[in-house]
């Protein structure tokens, strides 16, 4: 088991972290005086008291933008180490990174074609897969989900 000796510090750190967390909770429980009031028990102890819940629905487009961000973030993550050793990788590295960047660029093309970055009124260059014309009747599903095993119930409704 010699090869596992090097994991000992990690294990020790793991135990220490657990012990620290446990001790902190225990110490505050033992040492702190407990005098709860309504204000202290509130979920948000500071700031303005919320009068109503925030809106639950917001455009799915925000998620799409977040996804696009992740894609290009990954590209940058790969470009940094490549730039550091660019000299040693030579032509091979250049070709590989260009191929990589090109495939990421193609994904951008695809995203643009599906209208993911249009913020005005919906005007798609290429229709999305699926019949997604939205009306209040189709978007807001009042009750139940179709096809959760009991087939026909949603359809019949």
């Amino acid at each position: 088991m010699g090869s596992l000796d090097s994991y000992l510090p990690i294990f020790v750190l793991f135990v220490l972290a657990l012990a620290f967390a446990g001790l902190s909770v225990l110490a505050s429980r033992l040492l702190a005086p407990r005098r709860p009031t309504a204000a202290k028990e509130a979920p948000y102890e500071c700031g303005i008291v919320p009068t109503y819940e925030p809106a639950q629905r917001f455009p799915v487009r925000f998620y799409v933008v977040a996804m696009i961000y992740v894609i290009f973030d990954i590209e940058i993550v790969f470009l940094f180490p490549w730039a550091v050793v660019y000299g040693q990788l030579g032509r091979f590295g250049l070709v590989e990174i260009v191929v990589f960047a090109a495939s990421v660029f193609f994904s951008l093309l695809y995203l643009l074609s599906t209208g993911s970055l249009d913020w005005g009124p919906v005007k798609r260059v290429r229709p999305l897969a699926g019949r997604l014309e939205r009306t209040t009747a189709s978007t807001v599903r009042r009750h139940g989900a179709t096809g959760t095993g009991d087939e026909g119930s949603g359809r019949a409704a």
């Binding site: 088991m1 090869s3 193609f106 093309l109 695809y110 229709p127 897969a129 026909g152 359809r155």
Partner: protein
């Protein structure tokens, strides 16, 4: 200052004294995968740049073309392997041997047939676009890498490339909540099993000092571990990860739900590809890396195989939903394929490979039939839909009969030989009990396959006709149907389509039967809720899409042709294992 010093040290260690050693990349060795990925990117760009919406047939044609190109590249690679022997490529992370090439060919075939079977569905449901085909190609490249991976890290990466598009395909029909639910279920459980798999890799690496399959085997052959708990833990976790992918029994819970919810052609594709990829890596990792631990993992596989065989077959019997039934039947098939691994001999692995190869066609074809019968909306999967199918669509019913009796293991179909060879391998490895259980489960399985066949040929006859001897006659006649279906697929299909279209005005037999709600039928499906499947969505005629006719024709044709003349694939599987 100390931080800077250690950073310099780290940099020195990373860069090494002589700079970076670039691996030699043999592009011919990864040509099939490159073709798939390159073709995928091309499709994506064409779809993005084309000013008007392209027909789904265009994408299907392109995908079939890409599949054929990768098939040709795979066969060239096969010639290489046969003449020069197996070789490793790209810093020994890929092992190009007969075993790998067999899977390259298999995945290429799946990618040729699967788009054909998807065209009609995508058009019918109005979800056309390049996405389905692009995702299928990515998934295919993952399966290919999985089969040739010679490094656990690459196995993991390939597993993810295989799985992620499949999660999306499971949720491809965004209008159906069941589809999204299937995708979420598959994704969450799949991600969890991947995490377990990675932990298995970590433990194996900790115990052996390498992730390369060859080096692990060499290490284990040279050294005797005095306490191999970490290694065994790693192997067990790896097995869990694989067992999830192939839906072996303690890890099978996801598969009926996902198979049921996913779009039906995607289900067939998923069943064919995920099983092939999962088994490819499972067989390679266990047979090449851990042969020295055989006495430890063989009993585990033995138990898993028995559970998979018995539970898969028995749960399939009680299903009312044809997709769930086929899901449990695919679990049963996974049990049979595990027999080959349990034997852990070249004969066993060859039998498993043969089984996987023919299973892909069976499952693709079966789900293609289910797609058509379900009709628009893709949610009419009750078994009662199949009552009298033979009268309405004789060719479709004939094809389904061939595919089902092949899955049951009837002679003159590929299913017979596949079951025969795994059983032979199990007996040769002295696993008599396992072989006996497998045969018992095959008998149970025959029951639920034949039940569907009888339903299809029973028409709107009275309930007790289910057990009357006259029903055996149409059942026997169905054996002749494959020959007809093979002889003139398109002509016959068109004729049947006309018949079906002509008969559309007549109230379908199943509606009468269900509307009557006349209690239990003779086959023991007493739990049928009356009036459930009478929402009146007509089934799609086979002739509605020449693509489906062609794809189904290939599946049925391969099943019958290689059932009568099995030598080529057997020889292929045998060569694949002797070389590796």
């Amino acid at each position: 200052m100390i931080g800077l010093e250690s950073l310099r040290g780290l940099q020195g260690a990373l860069l090494g004294a002589g700079g970076i050693v670039l691996p030699h990349i043999d592009y011919t060795a990864i040509l099939p995968e490159l073709i798939l990925l390159g073709g995928m990117l091309l499709l994506l760009v064409v779809a993005a740049l084309s000013p008007r919406r392209l027909a789904t047939e265009f994408y299907a044609t392109a995908t079939v073309g890409i599949g054929i190109a990768s098939l040709v590249a795979s066969l060239v690679l096969w010639k290489d392997v046969v003449s020069h022997g197996p070789f490793t490529a790209v810093a020994k992370s890929l092992d190009i041997d007969g075993f790998a090439v067999l899977f390259l060919v298999l995945v290429s075939c799946v990618l040729i047939v699967a788009p054909m079977l998807a065209v009609g569905y995508l058009r019918r449901e109005g979800i056309e676009g390049c996405e389905y085909y692009v995702l299928a190609l990515i998934s295919g490249s993952g399966a290919m890498f999985m089969a040739s991976a010679n490094d656990l890290v690459l196995v993991f990466l390939a597993l993810e490339v295989l799985s992620l598009p499949l999660y999306v395909l499971a949720g491809f029909d965004r209008r159906r909540a069941a589809s999204s639910e299937a995708a979420i279920k598959y994704f969450v459980l799949g991600a969890f099993s991947s995490a377990i798999f990675v932990y298995g890799i970590a433990l194996t690496y900790g115990a052996t000092g390498s992730t390369n399959l060859g080096q692990i085997a060499a290490f284990l052959a040279r050294n005797v571990l005095t306490s191999n708990g970490v290694l065994l833990g790693g192997v067990a976790l790896l097995l869990c990860g694989f067992a999830f992918k192939i839906a072996a029994v303690p890890f099978h819970m996801w598969s009926p739900d996902v198979y049921q919810g996913a779009p039906t052609p995607a289900t067939g594709f998923m069943a064919a590809l995920a099983k092939a990829g999962g088994f490819a890596a499972l067989l390679r990792v266990f047979v090449t890396s851990f042969p020295t631990l055989r006495s430890s993992w063989q009993p585990v596989i033995w138990v898993v195989a028995i559970l998979t065989l018995v539970l898969g077959a028995s749960f399939a019997v009680v299903q009312r939903d044809i997709k769930r039934m086929l899901a449990y039947s695919s679990i049963n098939h996974a049990g049979f394929i595990l027999l080959g691994l349990q034997a852990a001999t070249a004969q066993g692995v060859a039998a498993s490979l043969y089984y996987l190869f023919i299973y892909a066609f069976l499952v693709l074809g079966s789900f293609a039939v289910v797609t058509l019968v379900a009709g628009r909306g893709d949610d009419q999967h009750d078994l009662s839909r199949y009552r009298g199918l033979a009268r309405r669509q004789p060719v479709l019913a004939g094809s389904f009969t061939v595919l089902l009796i092949a899955q049951a293991g009837a002679p003159f179909t590929t299913g017979f030989f596949s079951k025969l060879y795994v059983l032979q391998a199990a007996v040769a490895a002295h696993s008599y009990a396992l072989a006996a259980v497998a045969m018992g489960s095959a008998a149970i399985a025959t029951f639920f396959y034949l039940r569907v066949v009888f339903l299809m040929y029973s028409g709107s006859a009275p309930v007790e006709a289910g057990v009357s001897p006259e029903l055996v006659e149409p059942g026997a006649a169905s054996l002749a149907a494959p020959a007809l279906a093979m002889a003139a697929p398109s002509g016959q299909a068109l004729a049947s389509g006309l018949v079906a279209a002509g008969g559309a005005g007549v109230e379908p037999a199943w509606a009468k039967r269900s509307g009557g709600g006349s209690g239990a039928s003779g086959e023991g499906d007493g739990a049928e809720p009356p009036g459930e499947a009478t929402t009146g969505v007509p089934e799609t005629p086979l002739s509605s899409s020449p693509w489906t006719v062609a794809g189904l024709g290939i599946c049925v044709g391969a099943t019958v042709l290689f059932g009568i003349w099995p030598e080529p694939i057997i020889e292929f599987a045998r060569l694949a294992t002797t070389i590796f």
